[in-house]
Amino acid sequence: MIKKNFLRNTGTFLVFGGPSIFAFIAVIVIPFFVGMYLTFTNWDVRSADTAFIGLANYIEVFQDKVFLGQLWFTLKYVFFTVLIANGFAFFIALLLTSGGRGEQWLRTGFFTPNLIGGIVLGYLWQTLFSQVLPYMGQKYGWSLFQTSWLTSTNTAFWALVIATAWQLIGYLMIIYIAGFSGVPTDVLEAASIDGASRKATIQKVILPLTIPAIVICVFISLSRSFLTYDINLALTKGGPFASTELATYHIVQKAFLSNQYGVGQAEAVVLFAVVAIIALTQSYLLKRLEVES
């Protein structure tokens, strides 16, 4: 009887779980562990034999000034992207939750950039930064735009930030709107009866009550911008002179162009650790500001 049950249960397990669990293990679990192992070897496409080399790859990563420089560049890029995208998204969402007519349309409109992928997005902004804005700069004498922003490191950095934030704003806006709708109306009414100004209401009532939405939005924008690849590839292609390569761009190059799988994988693990530490710290710190309504 027990044996029959066991057989039937195994059958159920395989029918209902077999294909998806198999794919999950073959695509995520095994590559993950192989990848961890890979970071301790000198595996190289050209040399057939693989030797265990301990922490040498990680030491190489932390001594690689180029990679560390790009990691720092990535951090700056993430910081400004998260700040700008969340700031704009928060205020647009605030303007779009009063229940007025046409709000549905406006939300739909602001969300549109999220329909396109990073490659199309990058080329769209490349055309703007390299052709349209310099034309306007020269015609109207705006010195800021007279040369293409993509030809110098500093301006190319802002070009990356703007293009990424442009897409993120609409996405985060949706989440902020959902967060604002969770603020109870009686609390808002009480604030208005007490004569609180609009600014005070936002600062003292709405902001503390939407901390969960802020945590989610900062988390999403952090992890998405840390892992940016497509926009980087299409907008600046790492240029000028490899000065705007974000971490993922570097890892892809290292692994698939220079064929240094071990070091590339160690860099990916380091990047993951950085993202995880920053993302967890921010949600821990922000959550302490949370209040009950």
């Binding site: 397990f13 294909p19 669990i21 890979l38 409109g109 999220n114 590339g264």
Partner: protein, 274 residues
Amino acid sequence: MDTHRRGSTVKNILLYLLLLVFLTPFLMIIMNSFKTTQQFVENPLSFPKNLKFENYVSAYHNMDFLSSFLNSMIITVVSVLLILFFSAMTGYLFVRFNWKINAIIFFAMLASMALPFQVIMIPLVMLYGNMDLLDMKTTLFFMYLGFGVPFGVFTFHGFIKGVPFELEESAFIEGSSRLRTFFQIVLPLLKPVFVTLMVLDVLWIWNDYLLPSLVLLSPSQKTLPLSTYNFFSSYAVDFAPLMAGLIMTIIPVLILYLFLQKHIIKGITEGALK
């Protein structure tokens, strides 16, 4: 009251203006895709004198639009169907059978959702390359299934937990099998989850660049993001057809968006808040 209404009209006008500025990048590209490259370089802000579709024809040929569109279509449709179908079944398994192994795998799936693709991609390409499985659509379907299953199972799990077992019980008493009960009673209840998940997965897979760029190597296999990349890196100075190419890549998702707008926004909210 009157000033309040006037205030909100002013606010709405300002918001529409802001939206217009926000969407200027799209408008610029649309406007200039109907001009010649010469006209575009001379004045990118002028309106096109007449609607010329030559750029579209040239982009269509140069980026192999039909073939890459079909590739993108097949890859998206098959992968999304696989993810939806198998995630629903596994979500059901994990809710209804309280086995230790189920709990372990479910936990592993949840944990894996925190892993970025970057940590997986190098060993993934290495392993599947060693087995000579790259450059095949089937491999890509399988990989998307693997990457899509954790979030899919998680979403279905959350929903099926709320489906009362009594609904299935009577079917079992009448001698219906597990599988039949699942298809006849549980599956129809999952419709809203299917729509949400479908929307999220379609946007992800349709626009994905990195994974297909590593797996699909031959030109005949290229998806739309891949051929957009190729087109731009090889015709970098002829802007007019490039812009037409961008518009053509955007149009399919835009159509989907117009139809499923509400579901997309709902899906994003639910997906993020979980």
